[in-house]
Symmetry: C2
DNA sequence: ACGGTCGACTGATCCGCGGCAGGATTGCCG
DNA sequence: CGGCAATCCTGCCGCGGATCAGTCGACCGT
């Protein structure tokens, strides 16, 4: 594993061994680099004519607002993830996208994508794989909110983040940097911030995880997996599916 | 709008005016017709080498089971929807798929799809649109479970079903046939069956909707939309986006 | 040195919904 | 015809998590 690779290349490399031509196309996709400041939304609900991006650095979240002022965070995006792909296809954004940290991202036009697909189809396949893995995570998120209690749900969420970050070289079994506030955690997990605080305390006091000062320290990985009923199948993947 | 069209053609016709060549390709996709009985799962979690299908007749649901025996229904599929597309891309299914009624579906191979894309690209675009609309519904489902109370959540869900069924000619503003039991409704909405029962009673007693004997009768569409905070944008769509 | 803001944290109280237990209704099968 | 299995429906009780109402410390900008 080459540490100098872009996060996206690392992630796709899990699925497919990329050759030089394909790496070059990936590089090409990163041409139009942009920066965003934390807190100012990149995309608003209802906005049309929006570009898609590949996240290079920083964290963003996509969320929906309700009339009563509460919000539900649908997903977080980390380096290597696509941003707003659905907004492009659907022509109008159905959710907001907010950078949680300073963000660097590469703008991707519809035509860039189409060209990448036609000149390097294996790369296209790998991107579809990555996209369906992301969709699978939204589904897992749904299951968590619908059927898991606060403790399991939080544990599961932290493990999921850990798995995703590990794929792009920003986490290990021991832990990862995490810029989330307890409020954001609450909005993601469908709980109140007050209750998240209590749950984090319990996880800390039982010696499973400590989430403090922007760092998630996993003390007992296996017990945490057990508690969260976490499906390790995509963690234990043994090397690329396609050679 | 031609009533003899397949549900899929109706749905795609919302996005794109389909010409005869494209309709022919759609027809061709329906070659390998299969039947399934209610209750016997088509796809199991963890299963590999699975085909994708286009639903022609009947209802199915996709769900995940938890260790404690509870389940979360992720989505329902109705005529015109794709089935297990993600399982094909991902190579191994991450959820179960169960027919809730007798079902007719057409098996679709990866190669069929690729061919359809290359010979009739506009059709491919329309299918991507349809797929991202479906994904948007999973997202809306997530928001509902995370941030809406039981009443709003149920109301929203019924409206969503209504919107989808109307697109394929199986529902109107007045109501639609619905083979769901209260147990399934509960598993979809992350509630208990007992509580669903109470919620349905309340919706009935306030004169908004009646769900009995397999039929959902919407008595006051506008009030229901108001209660559920339902986003009508994709209902009010004024004709195809692409000509 | 000063409010002002934002995030972490806590205790007390309240309520939406789950769990349990049981009755009524319907449809199916022998 | 009776028996059985779903499914619907209801009342009661308790719990998990929301809400309210704070305190405390860190980090602003002035």
């Amino acid at each position: 594993m080459v540490s100098a690779q872009s996060p996206l290349a690392m992630k796709l490399g899990i699925f497919v061994v990329l050759n030089n031509a394909e790496l070059a196309v990936l590089d090409e996709l990163h041409r139009r680099r942009r920066k965003f400041v934390a807190g100012r939304d990149i995309v608003h609900q209802g906005q049309t004519k929006q570009a898609a991006y590949i996240l290079a650095e920083g964290w963003v979240c996509s969320y929906k607002l309700l009339r009563d002022g509460s919000r539900q965070i649908i997903d977080f995006q980390i380096p290597g993830d696509f941003l707003g792909l659905r907004s492009v296809l659907f022509r109008t954004a159905d959710h907001n996208i907010e950078p949680m940290t300073p963000v660097e991202a590469s703008e991707v036009l519809e035509s860039d994508l189409l060209q990448a697909f036609s000149t390097t189809p294996r790369l296209g396949t790998a991107m579809l794989w990555a996209a369906s893995r992301d969709e699978a995570m939204v589904v897992e998120h749904l299951v968590g909110i619908g059927r898991r209690n606060a403790l399991e749900r939080t544990a599961h969420f932290l493990l999921e983040l850990n798995a995703r970050l590990t794929l792009v070289g920003r986490g290990t079994r021991a832990g990862f940097d995490c810029p989330l506030s307890q409020y954001m955690l609450a909005d993601a997990l469908g709980l109140s911030a007050v209750h998240i605080n209590r749950v984090l305390r319990e996880l800390r006091e039982t010696g499973l995880v400590t989430f403090q000062k922007g760092y998630v320290a996993i003390h007992d990985f296996d017990k945490l997996v057990e508690l969260a009923e976490f499906d390790r199948s995509y963690l234990d993947q043994e090397g690329p599916l396609l050679r």
